[in-house]
Symmetry: C2
Subunit: 599 residues, 2 copies
Amino acid sequence: MQNYKAPQRDTLFTLYELLGFESHYADLGFEEVSNDLVTAIFSEAAKFAENTLAPINAVGDEEGCGFDNGVVTTPTGFKEAYQQYVEGGWPSMAHPEEYGGQALPYSLATSMAEWFSGANHSWAMYPGLSQGCMETLKAHGTDKQREMFLHKLVEGSWTGTMCLTEPHCGSDLGMLKCKAEPNDDGTYSLTGTKIFISAGEHDMSENIVHIVLARLPDAPAGTKGISLFIVPKYHVDENGEKGERNTVVCGSIEHKMGIKGSATCVMNFDGAKGHLIGEPNRGLNCMFTFMNMARIGTGMEGLSAIEAAFQGALAYAKDRLQFRSLTGRKNESGPADPIIVHPDVRRMLLTQKSLREGCRALAIYCMKMVDVTLYEKDAEKRQIADAKLALLTPIVKAFLTETAQECTSYGMQVYGGHGYIKEWGMEQLARDTRICTMYEGTTGIQAIDLLARKVVGSQGKLLQVFTQEIRTYCASLRDKQQFNAWANAVESHVDEWEQLTNDIMKSAANNPDELGAAAVDYLMYSGYVSVSYFWLQMAVTAQQKLDEGSTEVDFYQAKLQSAQFYFDRMLTRTRSLVSAIHSGADNLMSMSEEAFYQG
Amino acid sequence: MQNYKAPQRDTLFTLYELLGFESHYADLGFEEVSNDLVTAIFSEAAKFAENTLAPINAVGDEEGCGFDNGVVTTPTGFKEAYQQYVEGGWPSMAHPEEYGGQALPYSLATSMAEWFSGANHSWAMYPGLSQGCMETLKAHGTDKQREMFLHKLVEGSWTGTMCLTEPHCGSDLGMLKCKAEPNDDGTYSLTGTKIFISAGEHDMSENIVHIVLARLPDAPAGTKGISLFIVPKYHVDENGEKGERNTVVCGSIEHKMGIKGSATCVMNFDGAKGHLIGEPNRGLNCMFTFMNMARIGTGMEGLSAIEAAFQGALAYAKDRLQFRSLTGRKNESGPADPIIVHPDVRRMLLTQKSLREGCRALAIYCMKMVDVTLYEKDAEKRQIADAKLALLTPIVKAFLTETAQECTSYGMQVYGGHGYIKEWGMEQLARDTRICTMYEGTTGIQAIDLLARKVVGSQGKLLQVFTQEIRTYCASLRDKQQFNAWANAVESHVDEWEQLTNDIMKSAANNPDELGAAAVDYLMYSGYVSVSYFWLQMAVTAQQKLDEGSTEVDFYQAKLQSAQFYFDRMLTRTRSLVSAIHSGADNLMSMSEEAFYQG
């Protein structure tokens, strides 16, 4: 099995050379967060990912979680790794000092989360969910609630969850039934069943803080009658001290295709005591804070799988000898050439490579925008960043996880039959990653969020905020002849993107199903075009470094070659997407339900 | 979990209404194989698939195979199902009466194999491998060898395997090392290790007949020094009686992503006694008989997974209530609409449906060609069928298994998070099917076989045999205005297919890597175009039936609607493939091996 290596060089390239994070941090008041400091922190994160998390990844898959009468045990080594994580201070990075945090920027904590997930997707979900819980408390909790819960969460001795899904409602949260009855002391008693609760029960932390969606007795039907509650596994008093066991228990854990080291719990609330967070009936709005961050986080999981699959496939492609190159022997002394000489193997590797780097740039760009929304003082700048983030969040979630399916599949494919055997680790990657297009809102849900809610909902304005940035950048390259072809390709796609948007808006005015019919292809189109913008920038940056005489010639040369590959073979995927979008909704809607299957 | 149903109606449509099998069988001397007889046999096959094989599919995945000191045990129920299969006379269908066979056409036995695989991929591999072994014996064995081995194989009390792969050589068989030393009595002693041997050891049959590739002591290096041997688990005397144990043993079984009920064995040959089959050093040529049939068989496995995933997704899409249709409530009395009202869910279902039917037509067309090569007396007709088969075999293998990845992935995706949970059965389908693009020659290998060996190797002539048939058919539709647009689409793709071929041949003359750079996209292009030809025919046939007043209005109407979907949203995938092909090899070959990864 290939050992996972944290992609330090490429991440730092993206942060500093490509996206100018040193001045970004300085502009936001993080002057102390220098390039050097980040490099040092990342170097420690890399060690933790490579030496602690990666070695227990296969173990986690092999053992899975145990369940016995409400008690969940995590796989061998998971608890100890979590202890190390806490001792290293990792949970507290991006949280306020008043709760024991290190007050470092959000983007710093989340960009390295890619590595934890790449080394061990299952393990990384436990702290990942905790972060979601903390963000929700920070954004919507009262001072008292923050005092009660945040200290231990930031420290890491407690963990958190988000409890949304019920058996009959996944995406359609308006249907949820879990009830919250007010008690005399201002608390609430929650009753109902939640499913698919990641980290709902486990043996890593002293307490588990559940953030739960439920309905008050007098709540209106649908999404406007949902409130948000904090329900701890062990009661917590006003001083934040842990007390008796609350009546929330894990009823069972799911048997899944992958992420077997992550406990996916059925949680039964049986009059469990909870605390209302935010306004009554406004729970879904509060939840969006978490959901947007979770969606970018899920996109990062996709990216992390692309990276790991690329590393595994590349190592095998250099090692495995099979056939001779069609252009003559490349490994004269060996019995055959390494399979990396074969064009189709390179096609798979370059698909992984160009997505690994292109998607990383897109994802870290989004984290930069999150930083701006959190720390920027200028309201207009915050608003622009917010607009870009609103547009790009569903793209990051869906595009990075959909392309992760292809890339992890190639990870296996490069190995041939060996890719199917457990010991090589490639099939686990594919299984673990498969959940990413389904949880935190399926690709179809992201696509409707992008097209209907964001793009059409803003009459195209959210899109224009981003396309304007792209156009401005392309215009700035007019005198760089070397990049004219690529800049023109990006620009003409941006024109087409807006034209497609107008076409869809027009046809959807007569038939709302046109939105659903175009949505997923439109999202994938948007993904390929967005990433092309970052490939253009990466190429320009790389050429600059080469012109300045950098000694990392292979690194920067590969950026230019990967850009060529991306423009030739990835961006061209938009051709078929455009054809499909233009074909409209009739070819989907005309068939009667009964006619779908006749034997 | 959705119960698997054998797609009887659609299979019979394909055989009789679309491809004229009644006259096809009559022309080949199978006058007794009437439509009625076939329907009756298929009805029994459906029962066996649905009632015997489907119920033990999840069990097989859960339990997997056991291994203890060379002994392999299959999952609960597998042995009993095999016994039923033998008692039902299924193994003997397409074999000569002199060996106890029923002398029915090849296509009859293999078209129903789709159902066995659809109900239980793992189980179906045991008899599937046996068929490969029998075909090899029939084609290349001496009379004596056939007498010794075929009776019991045809009866089913013995099973067979094909032993090709070794640890250091998968596709590149020229590197194989297994040795065969001649004995004084005309037999050979085989020594070496074979891996990935499906059904290499198990508890279903009294003896296992291995067909093994090995090298004679004086053999030339490479593929021209490989011979083929019969090596039985228990020695067999000249009368076909089983004797003592031979020195071939199973060393271990693989732990795999899927097909866990299928024993994938490491087989150790330790001076095992074998019989040369065919000429010395011509083993690879003999193996091609098996390999071509196995490739179509693997394509059928892909098809079977598309079918099963479609059935599962469709049932859930009709049942699961989530959100309202954007065009108004469709399920007024319920809390939400079934998700089949949503365009994107339909997009996934129609992708499955249009491939299920289009790929079935392509596959059964190939079986018709196999029949012609086996039973036709006219040499020219045999030659034409052989040419079409040579062209289409790699397409069927790779296109049906690649699209099966997408369709089984959609099977899960339609279920949302539930698709990831084992109890629904959709994730098993995806895992089981994942092997199909890798074994029996990866997609990359099929693509090179198609483009380099078949198309360019014949200077385009093999392609023309098929495109001429398509052109003739399209021309015959000129007066059917309703079909002009689709016929024109097929014709213009056929023009483009030939043009692409010429372009590639030209560029490959200067740089052979151009073949590898184009190959997989060219294969997928060829698949989409080939299937479009069958969708055109299916639409014309369906309209004819409707015009004739058929009462199966839903069935035929759905064919026309599925054709519309296919032409609008599947055939248009060729646009991006053409762009990628035209981009050439440079964007794949320019990067140095070292530059691929720099951290």
